[in-house]
């Protein structure tokens, strides 16, 4: 090739880089043959412990994934294609996105679903920004029962865009403890000098509780605000969907639809909305159309919202999204079917109740009294130490809430525990036994002194 270019050295191809700007050599390790590389990677993977009996959820959920899901995902036609810019040779990807949009629309009870976003946090931030564009207002309220990472990302996005974000506290005690403080919410919404664009509430909440979504939506709408529900899609098999309680936008993390936890991603941001908001939804949309001979076909559509057309006036800067994860979620939903999905949600609920009862029997009780699906917080004296000690006994005792939410005094010394269908009854029994032992050990004076 070099010869055909009439060049003696490949360096001539880089003569356009001014000498003063040319790079120092790359000081990196030498190339590694595949066999050696595989040994290195296997060694690193083995340093992680994934053999623990885990009761950790907190926004990422382990579920059974039928082998068919990953086998289909490994087809190169799916994972080595890119954004379907040439629809005639991308009908597989385009139809899969259309089907994903349809599946999530069914689950959420919403009309329009975007092709995907980065994760639940970015999806929630984009949903909140949508409420500002749609209403022309610049103030959004978010419940402190929303996942702390999502609230942190909302803060980052809103600070960037110069918009106001206010957090609505949760009720500290009593029968409503842990739930969004509706009285406070009503007060904030009533401030006519600062009209609210949107209200963001979760279902279930970060603490696993079932929030009064219908009431939240009613209050938001009474204030002329849009209502954003942050949902977990597996739970929608059995919980009222956002479309049923009047949400204008549903956002959430689609990881629970059979995507492995893989230390945080790639995940699947879900954004869904009503027909009225279709021009405000960020990200790609795929629609059904026909080709010139009348065959049914699929194409990216309503692109006038997007950055490659609108540039600085676009609804978002998003370009590459999470298409393969949307496919993974669709595959998982197809494999499980509506009954399988409901069984997964119900099994989680059953296992979580077993866990609640087993812990209550040894005196470890829930912090809140509200209804939950499959995740709840328990109060444990010296929670961080108990959690650490249990790790040594092969149990991952959920989340030390104070690690993730240090600014919520009512949740000090609590563990957030989750059960899904992958947890066994034997694990539940063993967990209760171990935590009882650890609490007893730590309560002795010698242990305290140490």
């Amino acid at each position: 090739m070099l010869e055909s270019l009439g060049m003696a050295s490949v360096d001539e191809l880089f003569a356009d880089i001014p000498p003063a700007l040319r790079s120092s050599p790359l000081k990196l390790d030498p190339p590694e043959p595949e066999q050696v590389l595989m040994g290195r990677l296997a060694g690193l993977a083995a340093r992680n412990r994934v053999d623990l009996a885990s009761f950790l959820g907190a926004g990422a959920y382990r579920h059974f994934s039928p082998p068919l899901v990953d086998q289909i995902l490994l087809r190169g036609e799916w994972y080595t294609a890119y954004t379907p810019y040439q629809p005639e040779v991308s009908q597989g990807t385009l139809q899969s996105i259309y089907e994903y949009e349809s599946l999530i629309a069914e689950l959420t009870g919403m009309d329009v679903v975007s092709a995907s976003h980065y994760d639940g946090a970015a999806a929630t931030a984009e949903a909140a920004l949508m409420t500002c564009r749609a209403t022309g207002r610049d103030r959004v309220l978010v419940s402190r029962s929303v996942h702390p990472h999502y609230r942190a990302v909302l803060e980052t996005y809103f600070d960037g865009a110069g918009l106001d974000l206010e957090q609505i506290p949760i009720v500290a005690d009593g029968p409503e403890a842990g739930l969004t403080d509706l009285a406070e919410l009503e007060r904030r919404l009533a401030d006519a000098s600062q009209p609210v664009a949107g209200l963001v509430m979760p279902q279930p909440s970060f603490y696993g509780l079932l929030e009064p979504m219908a009431e939240g939506g009613r209050l938001a709408h009474a204030g002329g605000a849009l209502f954003v529900a942050v949902v977990e899609p597996v739970s929608l098999a059995v919980l009222a969907p956002p479309g049923a309680y009047g949400a204008d936008i549903a956002a959430g993390e689609g990881q629970s639809l059979g995507i492995p936890p893989q230390y945080g991603g790639p995940y699947l941001g879900i954004v869904a909305c009503t027909d009225a908001l279709v021009r405000q939804i960020p990200g790609r949309l795929v629609g059904m159309t026909t080709d010139v001979e009348g065959r049914r076909a699929y194409v990216m559509t309503l692109q006038a919202r997007e950055q490659h057309i609108r540039r600085e006036k676009a609804a978002s800067n998003i370009c590459t999204n999470q298409t393969l994860l949307a496919l993974a979620a669709s595959l998982w939903l197809a494999a499980m079917g509506p009954h399988g999905l409901r069984d997964v949600a119900a099994l989680g609920a059953a296992r979580a109740k077993e866990l609640e009862d087993a812990l209550a029997a040894i005196g470890v009780t829930r912090v809140h009294s509200g209804a939950y699906l499959n995740e709840f917080a328990v109060r444990v004296p010296n929670a961080a130490a108990v959690h650490r000690e249990l790790l040594g006994r092969g149990v991952l005792a959920g989340l030390v809430v104070a690690d993730a939410v240090p600014d919520e005094p009512s949740l000090a010394d609590t563990l957030l525990l989750c059960a899904t269908e992958v947890n066994t009854s034997e694990e539940v029994v063993a967990f209760a036994r171990e935590i009882a032992g650890v609490i007893a050990t730590l309560a002795t004076p010698e242990a305290t002194a140490a």
Binding site: R47, E106, V286
Partner: protein, 500 residues
């Protein structure tokens, strides 16, 4: 699909038959949901498709075969770096130790992944010539937002109110869209006549209000910005910072380190330069590298290496200067594992060779098209990893446009280049062959383009109505936008009680 016969598939909803399924999980106890208050329960089951395993697998296998992909053929999509995706990377990401690790797992049980992430940061620091890296952003545009928010925070910390971001007109649309998301104003600077940066134009716009310039280098025309040194000096003179869009990093590995040259921050698209698969439109990952000025503002949490060589994540609130979180958890770790595997495979010498070979391939292909005399090559000098060809003359003489040529390429079994981008070139085709294609493939692609250009004269109708052998013909895109059909409307399913 069978090897012959109709190729298109019905939707999965149309395959649904009541009661059809394959048992995947045990049945729950009958009373599992009784404790849920009625007001929270779903009244009507979602009308999801009911299919069994063979139905589902055939549906998705058949659909997959309607796609062009790197695994099926050449994909010279400019600016997207559609290089080979090594299969060992998929193996690595699926190791249970990586795939099954929970993102909130304590540091003590995540040492393998934390070490990998930390090492990956060090490699990216060396490649970028920067001081520190965050792996949190989920894609290139997400990285842009992260970088611009850090720049904003930097100026704010110095008590300066700077509102303008200068962007050349050839930039990706994500650059101006990012500036808007960060609450800043985009000022577009026209390119110089040679396609390069108009340094004088930038100088005229630079001032005390300038927060940043965003430069893609090499540019989206595939040209190295030879005057970048002058521009960076001018930017820093007025106290602004320089953002480098790293979309085209594949062209400069080991040849140009943006940090050494004076850029303050850049993002890296792992799905372009470092072979993580494009997934039909994601996932990507968009690590951001910064110099010392911006390091305090990096998103949290960072991965820290302790004196005893263990690793941990920053705790909540540990570094108050941080811009905060840009996504949940740590980042798209599964993507980053693949990038790490790729970087280890090639090492320092291999990465430099990648750039040499990518640039060589692009120049070879450009010269072959130039030699044909059929395509306009608006920037005939040496290009980097991609180049612009234009069908401007072909359109004038035959009426065949770039779009038609792109569609006709599909009939030849090739994916089309990026077309009508950048917006600054008439009838543009942005062609990026990457380093992983053989000379035979490059020749076959050049031959196909030459044949199509000739066909534009001899039989323009055939080109204008292409593709002819793809699963579908050209689509009614206007109709799709006028009457959007964005979802299948299935009949509401009957609520079936939990079987015991």
């Amino acid at each position: 699909m069978s090897a012959s016969g109709p190729r298109l598939q019905p939707t999965i909803f149309e395959l649904s038959k009541p009661g059809r399924h394959s048992d995947k999980v045990p049945h729950p106890p009958k009373d599992a949901l009784n404790r849920l208050p009625a007001e929270h329960r779903r009244e009507h089951a979602a009308a999801l498709p009911e299919v069994n395993e063979p139905d589902a697998v055939r549906h998705y296998v058949n659909l997959s075969q309607l796609n062009h992909a790197v695994d099926t053929g050449f994909y010279p999509l400019g600016s997207c770096t559609m290089k080979w995706n090594p299969k060992v990377n998929e193996w690595a990401a699926r190791l249970p130790g990586f795939a099954q690790l929970h993102p909130m797992a304590p540091d003590a049980v995540a040492q393998g992944t934390l070490q990998l992430l930390w090492e990956l940061e060090q490699i990216l620091i060396e490649i970028s010539g920067m001081q520190a890296v965050t792996l949190q952003p989920a894609a290139g545009a997400h990285g842009e937002l992260t970088g611009i928010l850090m720049i904003r925070e930097y100026h704010r910390s110095r008590g300066e109110d700077r509102t303008d971001v200068l962007v050349p007109d050839s930039a990706h649309g994500t650059n101006p869209a990012t500036a808007t998301m960060a609450g800043l104003k985009t000022i577009t600077i026209k390119a110089a006549t040679d396609g390069g940066l108009d340094v004088e134009g930038f100088r005229a716009a630079l001032g005390p209000k300038t927060a940043a310039v965003m430069i893609t280098n090499p540019s989206t025309l595939g040209l190295f910005e030879s005057r970048i040194g002058e521009l960076l000096e001018a930017v820093h003179e007025v106290g602004a910072l320089a953002y480098m869009d790293g979309a085209n990093l594949n062209a400069i590995l080991g040849r140009f380190k943006p940090g050494e040259a004076g850029f303050d921050v850049m993002h890296i698209n792992t799905h372009k330069t470092f072979s993580t698969p494009h997934g039909g439109g994601g996932p990507g990952a968009g690590p951001v590298a910064v110099n010392a000025k911006l390091e305090p503002f990096l998103p949290s949490p960072r991965v820290l290496r302790e004196p005893d060589a263990t690793f941990r994540l920053e705790r909540v609130g540990e570094r108050p200067a941080s811009i905060g979180r840009i996504r949940s958890f740590v980042g798209s770790t599964g993507v980053l594992v693949r990038a790490y595997a790729y970087l280890r495979t090639h090492g320092g010498s291999g990465l430099a060779e990648i750039t040499d070979d990518a640039v060589l391939a692009a120049n070879y292909l450009k010269d072959r098209l130039a030699d044909s005399g059929l395509f306009d090559i608006p920037f005939p000098g040496v290009c980097k990893h991609e180049f612009i060809a234009s069908a401007s003359t072909i359109k004038k003489t035959t009426g065949v446009r770039t779009l038609d040529i792109a569609k006709r390429l599909l009939d030849h079994g090739f994916h089309a280049p990026t077309v009508y981008f950048p917006l600054t070139v008439d009838e543009a085709m942005l062609i990026e062959p990457t380093e992983t294609e053989s000379i035979e493939t490059l020749d076959a692609f050049a031959d196909a383009l030459v044949e199509i250009a000739r066909e534009a004269t001899s039989d323009p109708e055939t080109v204008k109505t292409a593709p002819h052998s793809a699963p579908v013909k050209r689509l009614d895109e206007a109709g799709a936008a006028r009457n959007p059909n964005l979802r299948w409307r299935a009949e509401a399913g009957e609520w079936t009680p939990c079987p015991d």
